[in-house]
């Protein structure tokens, strides 16, 4: 271990740690652009220069490892002057078009310029200009804003193993280039947009959609496959407009795949059931929650109950479903697996739902024929399943159908009771990823109408049936789950935190990214 002093604060870190990372540990963020903890060090932006006592020159803190007894000044005049110089140089050819730039408000060039830059520019010469270029995939390149930090090039090379980006030309003519006809089509390519510290690489999907400061950000999990990448769900006026990766060294490092990232619109779905309904005569009629729960309880009580569940449901919802069912099954949509080769065990998974592993761990059967376990005369609970492609003839085996969903499938228009629940983005809960890691997600948008969270609805239903009193919080449900299911033993919302923990039955895995010090 090495002990050094940074901005007057003593810190002890393992040998080989860079000054930049050591500084983070004592709460000092050294400004930087090209450095990113998930990428190889380039040391080119020269923004992270710091003054190390007894060193002849300023040191790039991202590329300088700590030494015993080192005294580092981050904010003294010498270091500040150097960084002020870098900022001025980065801006001389920059169009200063913040008012029309998507990055505005989350731009490190803006942030550090406000923090440490000059108030004016001494540059009087013409600015260089290059036209914007569609890089393919979800990415557009605006070279005039580019600071040549090369994070994007390094990501495509070292992590995606698909070096389709390069630095072209030399000197101030240099820019990020690609080869004609070879686009950013790699399934993980859109990460370059997040990695870009300025407004040079932009998402086409998000282009001109919102200003960064209008967004509400919620820590969540990507629901779109079993990897369980940690994400921020970003909403504007209650609409999900963007999903971006949230760092978790045990799951997704700093990244998420394009498919997961761009597959968020379903969570803004409009064709919702917004009020509880019960069958009255030939049709479903809206009613109060109390009556609907009572009707559902009456429908299910004393019957063998079969649950057709969605693997998008939380552990909490699935656990409560197991309390009222005699049999349960789920099916999962599939696609091609697409790994990010630079990170161990990180891929867009074949199974495209968040909680496949949780559903299995809780006793649901994975099947292609969803209703094969539905016996003649059983009560059927359709939980989050859209029943697309399910043979309507199979449904006739059910003596009664209770739908607990956010959308009412056409094929169960004859349901006895419909209980509208929140979708993945609208409630809180946990999911279990394919390596058995249990991770929390939280509510990113308001559920429409009278819709309620799934755990609340199911808790009330169980209470009405007389099996279980209701729960006040999803954590109560989880505590119950942990106390009754060995795999979940010892886990709680408090211990899960926002990086999750593995099931007792899961294999411990080490971190797959150098993330000990936190976010970039």
């Amino acid at each position: 271990m090495i002990t050094l002093t940074i901005e007057g604060r003593q810190v002890t870190v393992p040998e080989g740690t860079t000054i930049l990372e050591a500084a983070k540990q004592v709460g000092v963020l050294i400004p930087h652009y090209c450095y990113h903890p998930g990428l190889p060090v380039a040391g080119v932006c020269r923004m992270c220069l710091v003054d190390v006592e007894k060193a002849p020159k300023l040191a790039p803190s991202c590329a300088t490892t700590v030494a015993e007894g080192q005294v580092v000044h981050v904010h003294n005049e010498k270091a500040l002057e150097a960084r002020k110089g870098v900022l001025e140089m980065l801006l001389i050819n920059h169009p200063l078009d913040c008012p029309i730039c998507d990055q505005s408000g989350e731009c490190e060039l803006q942030d550090y310029t406000y923090q440490e830059g000059r108030e004016d520019s001494r540059y009087r010469e013409p600015k260089r200009f290059n036209p914007a270029e569609d890089f393919g995939g979800d990415v557009v390149y605006v070279p005039n804003r580019c600071i040549l930090c090369t994070r994007c090039v390094r990501f495509m090379d070292d992590l995606a193993h698909d070096p389709v980006l390069n630095v072209s030309e030399r000197g101030d003519r240099a820019l990020i280039g690609k080869f004609d006809g070879k686009d950013l089509t790699h399934p993980w390519a859109a990460n370059v947009v997040d990695l870009c510290p300025v407004g040079a690489l932009l998402s086409k999907d998000f282009l001109n959609k919102a200003r960064a400061w209008e967004l509400d950000r919620t820590a969540s999990i990507c629901p779109n496959c079993t990897q369980g990448c940690n994400v921020m769900m970003e909403t504007r006026e209650n609409q999900l407009v963007r999903m971006r990766p949230r760092a978790n060294e045990y799951v997704n490092a700093f990244f998420m795949c394009d498919w997961g990232r761009l597959n968020y619109r379903w969570m803004n779905e409009k064709d919702r059931v917004e009020r509880p309904m019960v069958r009255q005569g030939g049709s479903l009629a809206p009613t109060s929650w109390e009556r609907a729960i009572a009707a559902a309880a009456a429908t299910l009580k004393g019957k063998r109950t079969f649950v057709a569940a969605s693997p998008m449901l939380s552990n909490e919802a699935l656990f409560l479903l197991t309390q009222l069912m005699q049999g349960g099954a789920f099916r999962v949509a599939e696609g091609d697996e697409a790994p990010l080769p630079g990170i161990e065990d990180l891929a867009l998974r074949r199974e495209r739902a968040a909680n496949v592993h949780g559903a299995e761990a809780l006793g649901f059967t994975k099947t292609r024929d969803l209703l094969s376990g539905l016996g003649q005369g059983d009560a059927l609970v359709v939980a989050g399943e859209n029943l697309t492609g399910v043979d309507p003839a199979a449904l006739t085996r059910a003596s009664a159908i209770v739908v607990i969903s956010s959308v009412l499938p056409e094929s169960v228009a004859n349901a006895a009771v419909v209980l509208p629940i929140a979708n993945f983005a609208e409630e809180e809960g946990t999911v279990t990823n394919l390596r058995g890691r249990v991770q929390r997600f939280t509510q990113a948008r308001q559920a429409p109408g009278e819709t309620r969270p799934s755990w609340l609805v199911l808790g009330d239903l169980l209470g009405a049936i007389g099996k279980q009193s209701s729960f006040f919080l999803p954590s109560d449900v989880f505590a119950k789950l942990a106390s009754t299911n060995k795999a979940f033993a010892g886990l709680s919302y408090d211990t899960l935190g926002f990086k999750g923990l593995p099931l007792a039955t899961a294999k411990e895995t080490g971190p797959k990214a150098p993330l000990a010090m936190g976010a970039p």
Binding site: P163, E169, R170
Partner: protein, 166 residues
């Protein structure tokens, strides 16, 4: 050549260029190290390094075309566009500059009827560029015409030099 003529590989199996490259590869512990030599071969054979040429080299050396393009654009001697039959480089860097190199460049522009640096004459014979330091500063002004290195060129010598070229 029409713009749509199919690209003929430079390093076709059994060809001289391929043999040359295959001989170079064992000189280095990594195949990638033959990238610059391979690009030189492409330029020698085709007069310039086209996108197709870059893609071909990329394929041979297990690189991506984008990577190769990044390298090609770094080095000024690789032509990314076709150039005249005679590619004339006049050194105008400081030591030659103070010995009148710019007048030599102007003389070449005038006598080749190219008029502008980097522009190929309408008959396709000449392209004249100013080049940064040819490393023969004591022989101002050095000029390279294709592979030929000519020392101590003055504006007066330019017409005779050009007259030698067919």
């Amino acid at each position: 050549m029409t713009p749509h003529a199919p690209y003929q590989p430079v390093f076709g199996a059994g060809g001289e260029a391929r043999r040359e490259l295959d001989e170079l590869i064992p000189r280095y512990p990594r195949k990638m190290a033959t990238l610059l030599p391979a690009l030189w071969i492409v330029q020698r054979e085709r007069g310039w390094v086209s996108d197709e040429g870059m893609a071909e080299v990329a394929g041979l050396l297990d690189l991506t075309p984008a990577y190769v393009k990044g390298v090609v654009t770094f080095y000024t001697m690789y032509h990314q566009h076709p150039v005249g039959k005679y590619f004339i480089q006049v050194c105008t860097t400081s030591p030659c500059g103070i010995c009148g190199a710019e007048d030599v460049a102007k003389a070449f522009l005038r006598h080749t009827n190219t008029g502008e640096l980097g522009v190929t004459s309408s008959d396709g014979r000449f392209t004249v560029i100013e080049v940064e330091c040819l490393g023969a500063c004591g022989f101002a002004t050095p000029v390279m015409i294709n592979e030929e290195f000519i020392e101590s060129v003055t504006p007066e010598k330019v017409p005779d030099l050009l007259a030698r070229l067919t």
